[in-house]
Amino acid sequence: MKALEVKGIVKQFPGVLANDSINLSINKGEIYAIVGENGAGKSTLMKIIYGLYTPTSGEIFVFDKKVDIKTPHDAIGLKIGMVHQEFMLVARFTVTQNIVLGDEPSKGIVFDYKKALSEVKELSEKFVLKVDPAEKVANLPVGIQQRVEILKILRRGAEILIFDEPTAVLTPEETEDLFKTLMKLKKDGKTIIFISHKLKEVMAIADRIAVLRRGKLQGVVEKGKTSEVELARMVVGRDVVLKIPKAEAKVGGTVVSVRDLMVKSKRGIVGLKGVSFDVRAGEIVGIAGVEGNGQAELVNALIGFTRPVNGTITFDGKELRVITPFNIRKKGMAYIPKDRKMRGLVLPFRSRENIIMGQHTLYPFSKNGVLNSIEIDKFATKKLEEFDVRPRDIHTKARNLSGGNQQKLILAKEMSMEHKFLLASQPTRGLDIGAMEFVYHKLIEEKEKGVAILLISLELSEIMGLSDRILVLYNGEIVGETTPDKTTEEELGLMMLGLKRQKRVAQ
């Protein structure tokens, strides 16, 4: 039986043909992956199926019946559920409130919260997805938030589950958990549509794989009859192997030295419990760890957003008493934030305006406080070329750039500033293969120039591939220090979960 069929779906956005006559046919009970680079049209297609977008033309069949899905409400009625890439959760609500929203147990008009709690508990037990029903979503790690999302759609009796890039924000362990869940759901007879650009994962979990490129369907392959390399070629349209280039470290003097750093989190609890480490010129120090184990606090302290409770940060041999973003940047720090929209860019600004942010007070961009448009435009044009930001138009607003191009714009901005130290927080988050490759190359380039780099990442392969030294952060402490050649992903994974500690190499 076909769970879902789409025929000739076309979606035209102003200036972009996002989906170009796409035909897919998905069997009941299979895990069906759709892969493609960012902007290939995967999410658009799913949003059409879920009723968030209206297709320009085309037909949809659910369980062999032609349907007309206008709103998510229709989709839910057809037992289609979707876990969005950006979680659709109300941060201030509890797990239970989030799960039952839209279909609440009630006595008359009164919301029966007790009943909802027990329902959620039951549900979580039934599907073996452990959550605390009374906890606020804002306080949960990403992996658990995703569970809430899954429970939400399961509660509505979804038979077809769409996962839009579900692993983009997960740790390896969480990903593994998710895969277990997916397999279990498949066993229960649910149909799963799995959207990703991570070919390794797709190969691990999917039964069949459809490849999209620039809005067009490139082909559908069965897992057994293909390979990662072949898929990659289909996705990118040329031969690529995602290989992280290696470069020998020419290590120089210590640039940043952190001692006994203790930092409170936004919620007021101590999130970083006294860590010490050095970053030297020309090396990449990788910080591995599951999200929420002190990374945010570390970043905030280094960039001057949060004042540490205790401990010192020494930059270039000088201890900094009060750190503000202004003075630390003046000393020579560049920062690639994990959240592009929140910390990286001013979305309504044009590329030319974004690219000078942070160095706008410097010559030649301005003199005596007066901006020099000609110099700015010249610079922006050059950098857009150099960092391959598309479109090349320096007047494009950042909001209209794709994720990858936004990231490139940030790189262009940060790396063109004079800096000795680069703080890269999940620099490849949500990027496709091409963009990732680009970021890796840039990081290596930086390293070869003698910049000290602190790389915080949840992707173990990234940490293993790029770092010269690896620190493992668990529960606000550094529980291990190692180098890529002395460890394995498995060992790191255990340390990240606090199951294994390693004596630190002497500082």
């Binding site: 102003p14 973003p325 202004f326 910390r343 990286g344 001013v346 600004f349 942010m357 942070g358 901006l371």
Partner: protein, 382 residues
């Protein structure tokens, strides 16, 4: 509160940049049409009303045009000042309801510096600039209080500016004007003493009252434009404007001192709005009266919104409102209440708020011409 800044910037790079000028124009036109219907419904003649209104607005030549024109510019300079007060703060992501307070603080400062002894004896070319600087300082400090509380204590500027308006009003009218700054009895006036001759703004269009206030405010508007778009300071304010209200931290992460800029933005907003109060005292009333009854501050919000928070737009909107208000009292000759122009002002702002709809209409019109199938508008247009 957060959406003050989701505004469309004038710019030729936009595909339909002319829309940014067309939308306010159509809004104003629609407002006049609805105003006409309204006046008809209430049993009066729209033609007579508009004839009187425009005849006395100073916008069109006619009898007594000279004095109407002068009065219009005199009003406009004050509306532009308070409009800028709102627009400047809005550019920096702040919602400033405090222009009313800044206006009266500027007024009382102008009155004091205008009559008080050490200053009153100075020659005009020293005295007047001194007053202007003093007024801007006073208004700026009053504005900066709200900025400080926002930056350092996180208190919403809407609350503080509302409260500071009232505090300013009561401290001035129920203390300063009736207490330490009361005029001596023998002069025959209540309120503060009159300002000295050297403090009065020079007239530029005799025999009318028009004085250099319009020149000052145009110069200030130019400076504000320059500040916004040509300096690093303005650049930083604009980064904040696009992010502050959404809780985004990009400017802060880029090393911009958001807290200090917040205070400075409110300082400038207060200083410019205070100029309006100074124009009132130095060019019209020559003293701070016992009861001021402004309203220029709140109308400034409408001026800024009609002008899309852009300096040039604020000038044009200021002139529009100034003209409406100048013509307002004359419509009473036809027994139409003086508040009629406020109705038009309200409708104009309402249609500006409905600009998505107006844009949709225009686009449909344009698209039909272009025979294009794609709607450029999207949005709630369903």
């Amino acid at each position: 509160m957060k959406d003050v800044l989701k505004r469309i910037v004038f710019g030729k790079r936009e595909k339909y940049w002319w829309m940014n000028a067309l939308v306010p124009l159509i809004s104003i036109l629609l407002a006049f049409i609805v105003g006409a219907i309204f006046i008809k419904i209430t049993g009066r003649s729209p033609v007579v009303a508009y004839k009187l209104l425009f005849g006395a607005s100073g916008l069109f030549p006619g009898p007594y045009w000279k004095s109407h024109f002068a009065e219009m510019l005199l009003s406009s300079s004050m509306y532009i000042a308070t409009g800028l007060g709102f627009a400047i703060a809005a550019k920096g992501g702040l919602f400033n309801i405090g222009a009313e307070g800044h206006f009266i603080v500027g007024g009382i400062a102008a009155a004091y510096l205008g009559y008080a002894k050490p200053f009153a004896g100075l020659p005009k070319f020293i005295h007047l600039p001194l007053i202007i600087v003093g007024v801007m300082l006073a208004g700026g400090i009053w504005g900066a209080i709200a900025g400080y509380l926002k930056a350092k204590r996180g208190i919403h500027e809407v609350i503080t500016t509302i409260m500071l308006n009232w505090i300013a009003l009561y401290l001035i009218e129920a203390w300063l004007v009736t207490g330490p700054m009361k005029a001596a009895v023998e002069t025959g006036v209540s309120g503060t003493p009159y300002i000295s001759l050297s403090a009065k703004l020079p007239k530029i269009f005799p025999p009318t009252r028009l004085n250099i206030s319009i020149i000052i405010i145009l110069a200030v508007t130019f400076l504000v434009w320059y500040l916004f778009y040509k300096t690093t300071f303005g650049y930083e304010i604009r980064t904040m404007g696009h992010t502050l209200i959404f809780g985004m931290e990009a400017p802060k992460a880029a090393g911009i001192n958001v807290e200090r800029r917040t205070i400075q933005t409110m300082f400038i907003a207060g200083a410019v709005a205070a100029l309006g109060g100074a124009f009132m005292i130095l060019g019209v009333l020559f003293q701070y009266p016992p009861i001021f009854e402004g309203g220029y501050g709140f109308d400034g919000i409408a001026v800024a919104l009609i002008g899309q928070n852009e300096p040039l737009g604020v000038i044009l909107a200021g002139i529009l409102i100034g003209a409406l208000r100048t013509g307002a009292t004359t419509v009473q000759l036809a027994h139409i209440p003086k508040t009629f122009p406020s109705i038009i002002e309200g409708f104009t702002v309402a249609f500006i708020a409905l600009q998505m709809l107006i844009r949709y209409w225009i686009m449909k019109f344009v698209m039909r011409k272009k025979k294009s199938i794609q709607s450029e508008m999207g949005g709630g247009a369903k």
